[in-house]
């Protein structure tokens, strides 16, 4: 019988240029199943000149937390040196990164996010909240104030503020109900000047909203229990689905989508083994515009990203 040598280290290589959720998944797939397989060491290698969108930053942060929680060794290598850590530092990435994550060349000596908090109109610091306890509402107020600051010169700032605040409130409140994980969740937003886009991201490290809902739906004999994963997701965003027998519940995603559609936003949903992209058409998120990929490498949690287009 031959002996097979199992590799003990895997490397997630984030290439140069902008990394959005799709490019992140490409890199994540090439890396191998870092969390699901028996690797003992994970290296995240960030090429010089790599720029991650805000939703990817939260996914990487959650990934690091999960690697640490599984007692694996993890090393973040910034090939561009300190030049490439500055932006992440400014967002508060290193404040939230577990101390046991090794960083090369080194962690910043002090947090620039703490130093300049709220000072940049296009950039918002990452907010952390519990995965199991309802978030403080001051957090929503901070995120709302941030988007007001960021879009202050626009005529539609009131509408943007209203929608962004509601989306954050509903998505963050969903985490405590569905994550079932002691690991923290994160929320952040960023306005991208060139694309005239506001990207809202909320990530947790839980079991994923589908896994949270399915047993409860089956228990109450809800017809939605028989839906496939994509149909169930689309239904959550279109009509709302609750694990409880209560029509007052389960409307958080539906309401978030109703706000998002006003900005023709694409919704990106990453669950532990699948990713779904909902594209808007005719002022709704139709079933036939849901693009899903299953069988992805494990990334615990529900990672939601709304890309709002500003006119």
């Amino acid at each position: 019988m031959a002996t097979v040598l199992r590799p003990s280290e895997c490397t997630l290589l984030l290439p140069k240029g902008w990394i959005n959720p799709r490019k992140f998944e490409d890199a994540f797939e090439r890396c191998g199943d870092a969390l699901g397989a028996s690797f003992t060491t994970v290296v995240v290698r960030i090429a010089a000149g790599t720029k991650m969108t805000i939703d990817v930053i939260l996914r990487v942060l959650s990934f690091c937390n999960q690697v640490v929680a599984m007692t694996k060794r993890i090393l973040l290598v910034f090939e561009g040196g300190h030049e490439d850590t500055g932006y992440l530092d400014r967002m508060g990435f290193f404040e939230h990164l577990p101390r046991s994550v090794e960083v090369s060349p080194a962690r910043p000596l002090f947090s620039r996010a703490a130093l300049h908090r709220g000072g940049n109109a296009t950039l918002v610091e990452i907010e952390r909240f519990s995965g199991t306890v309802a978030a403080e509402m001051s957090l929503i107020a901070r995120l709302g104030a941030a988007v007001q600051h960021s879009c202050a010169t626009r005529g539609d700032v009131a509408q943007i503020y209203s929608s962004v605040s509601t989306i954050f409130s509903e998505l963050i409140n969903n985490v405590a109900e569905h994550s079932k994980s002691p690991l923290d969740g994160y929320a952040a937003l960023q306005r991208y000047q060139r694309g005239n886009e506001v990207r809202i991201a909320v990530s947790d490290s839980g079991i994923g909203i589908i896994e949270s809902l399915r047993p409860a739906l089956a228990a109450k004999a809800d017809p939605a229990a028989n839906f496939n994963d994509v149909d169930l997701l689309v239904e959550m965003f279109r009509k709302g689905i609750s694990r409880l027998d209560n029509q007052d519940r389960g409307n958080g995603l539906m309401v978030s989508a109703a706000h998002a559609i006003q900005f023709q936003a694409e919704l990106d949903i990453r669950l532990p083994r699948q990713r779904t992209l909902l594209k808007p058409a005719n002022d709704q998120y139709p079933q036939n515009m849901a693009y899903s990929t299953a069988g992805l490498p494990l990334l615990w949690g529900t990672h939601l990203s709304f890309a709002l287009k500003l006119a």
Binding site: I140, G144, S165, N173, D248
Partner: protein, 170 residues
């Protein structure tokens, strides 16, 4: 509310308790107006707990409506939450009443519009105007009352029997 925004279920439940307690302390009072003065925004979770759940609880027994709504946009989330729960929410804006959230069946829309346009309405009056039988008009008003769109009280009909009078809320 502690500030001008209503976020999330926890805050919504706290406000719900305050409203319920206020109503329970006034058993003889039939109509309650929830003032939205100073409220900048409420999300769907807050709306579900603080408004939709309260209106459902008192459906058919008390009339509850929203007043002092200066910005229609703040009703966006409430409308979605109440529509999904099929709970009508009467709202007074600029001196006229409209219903957000749950809506009547197509067959009852005309009857509701008739009732909302006047202080009080009787089935016989609507039957005459719309060309329905009194029994048919009565059924429509009864359904609208049961579903929380209207309030109802009894009066003595010209014939000496009991006649129901339907009122808009607020």
């Amino acid at each position: 509310m502690n500030d001008d925004n209503g976020w999330g279920r926890l805050q919504g439940r706290a406000v719900q308790q305050q409203i319920v307690s206020f109503i329970e302390d006034r058993p003889a009072q039939q109509v309650f107006k929830l003032s939205m003065e100073g409220v900048k925004q409420i999300d769907a979770s807050f709306s579900s707990e603080a408004i939709v759940a309260v209106l459902r609880r008192y459906r058919g027994t008390k009339g509850i409506c929203l007043v002092d709504v200066t910005d229609r946009d703040i009703l966006f989330d409430l409308d979605l939450a109440a529509a999904r729960a099929e709970v009508p929410v009467p709202v007074w804006i600029d001196g006229s009443i409209e219903i957000v959230g749950g809506q009547p069946s197509p067959g009852n829309r005309e009857a509701l519009q008739f009732a909302l346009e006047r202080h009080q309405a009787k089935a016989a009056e609507f039957a005459e105007k719309a060309g329905f039988s009194i029994a048919n008009a009565s059924t429509k008003f009864k359904q609208l009352w049961e579903q929380g769109f209207l309030m109802r009280s009894e009066s003595v009909a010209d014939s000496g029997g009991v006649e129901f009078v339907y009122q808009r809320i607020g």
